[in-house]
């Protein structure tokens, strides 16, 4: 019988890793076992052999590769010395590493955050070529930008510009419900799109075909999650559901939108404009309606620059010169949507954004903060490690006497710094992994740890690592080079060397930390101020119930009376809009006489309970009478409107309101100014008409309640269902809706606060290290002073004086810088706090106290010590 051979690959592998001394025995035994087993089954024997080889991979069996080069010996020695020192000076090293860990952690979080912000909507494979059309309108009142553009823009652009290979319209019409069998779900995360959309965005279809022909006005594409909640286990494709566009066929199911998409759509209505008829078809084709978001895809190698010069001629085909001036065309790349949309004015047809627009500036601010913190941490690290290195002159001296060159001493420093930074790096990774959930909570993001190792971020990490490494090893290395051999042999050869540099570093650290602390104090004061400012009415204790159907709107009086019956309900009103409105707030022109200069004012329509439900104060005239017929052409103005119009003694006077037509209204009352927008905005003119006004239909019930809101909610829901069983009730608490104005600021505030606290902490750690070193160095001096008769306070003063001066100087530098920047930020608010000297004083005191509390015990124990001991020192 042919002798079976063991698997050669594995045998070679074994020979490769196994020690030469052992290979004879191990290979022999394994082969023998293989031969014996192969008598039964060769396959089994081979498998056993592999397993045996794997089990043989043990440290004891491994070839130990001899370290041949001198350098490796040296590094081996450096490592040994490093870890010995680490054990001896554990406090010093851990303080040093802790500072770095905190610095890196902040930096990494900042990187994660800003990376996530900048990558918003970049997941589309063609994202470089996907643009949104923006209209710029130049009028006397100023320049406005809109993302809702003329309705026929999409087909016209595709037809007229060869550079644009695909285009699509996208529009949104407010609330929507979806019914399948007995399930009925409301969901506003939808958009009505034309079929081109699926060639522009990356939408991964799981099942079905979104471009399939459909019956009726539109077909729908549902997200996985939404399809699940509506259909459960059934296959949705091909089923017909009841939607706001009547009976609609489900064409396809798509994957949920990725988490870094601005829009988290659950439903796409896919429609073909040609299928609509009558008024709506007119609407879709009208160049006077600007309601559609329009997406275009450029041909490869082309971009907006190729098209922009031709847009004027393009628009001339559809508009006259005046209209053109109000509707100039621009393009915005889809990746810029998240951070570069601050200039856009909210308009009707924009779908709901799941992730609100953010702004570029804040990303830069936190990048700067991240950089500041890592600068503080590195300076700290440089200070502490150079102090440590200078104390080791004796070791350096001996190395030199034994023939080490300065270069080798420097290499030693680099190696040691490398290890320290590596340790700090790893620890901060761990810290990030642990803290990520809290961080996500704080910033309202969903980030995962693995994102941290994405290619870009690894690059930044490497850059941070190398910079810190080289800089912090460089400073002590330079000192080493300067010294001659003789001096090396004394223990404190470097005493006092580089003090000025170190103090400069401390100064920079404290300047930055104080600046951050001042920033935080101001930020929180301001946010506190605007959140507690009297709005002119009480926004807590108010619930809004959306009127989302014609049925509810038609029977609003019945619903209102029904809701009012509950004992927990103090007041109910029906209104068109609410103060702190989250949909768009309509504006109209008010005129004193038919041909007078108009002023723009925001419009609210209330019934006769409106003023009292909100708690506005009527300072002149009266509320609506409650008689619908006579109220319809009455108007109540706010103080600002009265002032802007220049009305004197307004009650009883007539004004003209320009909507589609010009109509005459009688002023019956004046209401005290109240805030209806965020406090970034000043109070603007407002006019309040009766609910049955010609401008806008009612859209909300607003309930002022007492006690437990839960019961009121259930009650209102039941009443609503009685009159309109199909539409689910949609409730909001008004004060929560107000909070959304300041959400971004709060996130920013938290972010800056944490970095500020950490930066102070790192600076304090640094100061502690420095004082520790100073005290150690001046042990003998203090002993002598004590013998001569210095008191404990004198010595404490002696040690702390320098640093106190440093802190004061830091304050002097930080204050004007912080003042300048914060003033800019505060200027964005219409209502703001003053920057008082106390804020600065407070920040200074906090930093001072925290710093000196940390070092005082060390200094005090030194000052108290027996001079006999200190004189014997060295």
């Amino acid at each position: 019988m042919q002798q079976q051979q063991p698997p050669q690959k594995w045998l070679q592998f074994l020979r490769w890793f196994c020690k030469d001394d052992f290979i004879e025995e191990i290979e022999g035994d394994l082969t023998e076992l293989f031969e014996k087993r192969a008598d039964h089954s060769v396959a089994l024997a081979r498998r056993h052999f592999m397993w045996d080889v794997i089990k043989t991979i043990r440290w004891i069996n491994m070839k130990k590769r001899k370290i041949e080069s001198i350098t490796m010996y040296a590094i081996d020695n450096y490592l040994k010395i490093y870890f010995r020192r680490f054990r001896r000076g554990f406090l010093h090293y851990s303080v040093n590493i802790l500072g770095l860990v905190l610095g890196f952690t902040v930096l990494f979080f900042v990187l994660l955050y800003s990376n996530d912000e900048m990558k918003m909507d970049s997941y589309h494979s063609k994202s470089d070529r996907i643009f949104r059309v923006i209209e710029k309108s130049e009028t006397e009142e100023g320049t406005n930008y809109y993302s809702s553009v003329a309705n026929p823009m999409a087909p016209a652009m595709k037809a007229d510009f060869p550079e644009i290979v695909e285009s699509a319209s996208m529009v949104y019409f407010g609330s929507a419900t979806y019914t399948y069998k007995d399930k009925n779900i409301a969901n506003r995360n939808y958009a009505i799109v034309t079929s081109g959309f699926f060639n522009i965005w990356d939408i991964s279809i799981l099942n079905g075909n979104p471009l399939k022909d459909y019956q009726g006005l539109a077909g729908v594409v549902l997200s996985e999650d939404f399809a699940n909640s509506l259909f459960g286990d059934e296959d949705p494709v091909g089923k017909v559901i009841e939607t706001r566009l009547d009976k609609t066929e489900v064409l396809a199911v798509m994957k949920n939108m990725p988490k870094n998409a601005t829009y988290q759509f659950d439903i796409f209505f896919v429609t073909d404009i040609n299928k609509w008829d009558g008024r709506i078809s007119q609407f879709f084709k009208s160049w006077d309606s600007h309601f559609m978001a329009t997406w275009v895809l450029f041909r490869e190698g082309t971009g907006p620059d190729d098209v922009l010069p031709k847009t004027d001629a393009f628009l001339s085909k559809y508009m006259n010169d005046d209209q053109k001036r109000e509707h100039q065309i621009g393009f915005q790349n889809i990746q810029d949507m998240h951070l570069h949309s601050d200039h856009l004015t909210e308009a009707g047809g924009d779908p709901l954004r799941a992730i609100p627009y953010s702004n570029n500036q804040f990303v830069y601010i936190i990048l700067i903060i991240g950089a500041c913190v890592i600068i503080i941490a590195s300076l700290n690290f440089i200070n502490l490690s150079s102090v440590q290195a200078l104390k080791r002159t004796l070791e350096a001296g001996i190395r030199k006497v034994n023939g080490a060159s300065t270069k080798q001493l420097r290499i030693q420093l680099f190696v040691e710094t490398f290890i320290t930074i590596l340790l700090a790096f790893i620890l901060s990774w761990v810290l990030i992994a642990l803290l990520l959930p809290y961080f996500n909570y704080l910033t309202g993001k969903t980030m995962y740890f693995d994102e941290f190792f994405s290619l870009d971020l690894v690059g930044y990490q490497l850059a941070a690592f190398t910079t810190t490494w080289i800089l912090s090893a460089l400073v002590p290395a330079v000192y080493y080079a300067k010294l001659d051999r003789a001096i090396f042999m004394t223990k404190n050869a470097f005493a006092g060397k580089g003090d000025r540099l170190r103090k400069a570093f401390v100064l920079v650290q404290y300047t930055i930390s104080m600046g951050l602390i001042i920033g935080v104090v101001v930020l929180y004061n301001q946010l506190n101020f605007i959140q507690n400012k009297n709005l002119g009415f009480d926004n807590s204790g108010l619930i809004t119930l959306d009127i989302n159907s014609g049925k509810a709107r038609g029977s609003f009086k019945g619903i209102k009376d029904g809701i009012a019956k509950h004992p927990g309900v103090v007041n109910v009103t029906t209104t068109t809009r609410v103060p702190g409105e989250w949909k768009n707030l309509p504006e109209s022109d008010l005129l004193l006489s038919k041909n007078a200069e108009p002023i723009t004012a925001s419009h609210y329509g209330f019934d006769s309970d409106g003023i009292s439900t909100y708690g506005f104060k009527i300072i002149d005239g009266s509320d609506f009478s409650g008689n619908d017929a006579s109220d319809t052409l009455k108007v109540i103005l706010n103080e600002t409107a009265v002032k802007s119009l220049g009305l004197e003694d307004p009650v009883g006077k007539s004004i003209w309101i320009q909507e589609d037509t010009l109509s005459r209204f009688q002023v019956i009352g004046v209401v005290e100014d109240f805030h209806f927008e965020s406090l970034y905005e000043p109070i603007k003119p407002v006019f309040i008409t009766s609910w049955n006004n010609p401008i806008m239909v009612i859209d909300y019930f607003v309930i002022r309640y007492n006690g437990d809101p839960k019961q009121v909610l259930t009650h209102a829901e039941n009443v609503n269902a009685e009159f309109d069983p199909e539409t689910p009730a949609e409730f909001n608490f008004l004060d929560e809706q107000w909070r959304r104005y300041y959400k971004a600021d709060e996130t920013r505030g938290n972010f800056i606060m944490i970095s500020a606290i950490l930066s102070v902490l790192i600076s304090v750690i640094g100061l502690f290290g420095m004082i520790h070193y100073t005290v150690e160095r001046r042990t003998k001096e203090i002993g002598i002073r004590k013998v001569i008769g210095a008191s404990i306070p004198t010595i404490i003063k002696l040690l702390l004086k320098d640093y106190l001066v440093l802190l004061c100087v830091a304050m002097l530098i930080a204050s004007p810088l912080a003042w300048y920047m914060l003033n800019d930020w505060l200027a964005t608010f219409a209502f703001r706090i003053d920057l008082s000297i106390w804020i600065f004083a407070f920040a200074f005191l906090v930093v001072l106290l925290v710093s000196f509390m940390t070092v005082i015990s060390r200094v005090y124990s030194m000052a108290k010590s027996n001079p006999v001991n200190s004189l014997r020192y060295e």
Binding site: P6, L11, F22, E24, E25, I26, E27, G28, D29, L30, T31, E32, L33, E35, K36, W51, D52, K55, T56, R58, I60, N61
Partner: protein, 108 residues
Amino acid sequence: MKEQSIGEFEELVLLNVAALHDEAYGVSILENLENKLSKKVNISAIHVALKRLETKGFVTSRFGGITGDRGGRRKKFYVITAAGKKVLDDVYSLRTSLYQQIPNISFN
């Protein structure tokens, strides 16, 4: 020098080396052990135990002659040393003396 100690598995291997006197090498120890224990043992565990026993000075080793089997590799034979024997004796007497201290327990 510190008193050398011996682990349970090492003790088993050492007993095998002693029992298989002059015929003890990896595979024979493995087979004997698997027989006695009636469970699978991995060869590399035995190798490691033998290495440890050798550094502790409980066994010595020599190579056998080259044969056509084993891919031309020689067998490495292990023999127990006096120190190894002594350690086995110590363990044995310790166990026996402890065992004899057990009172007569009835498990019925």
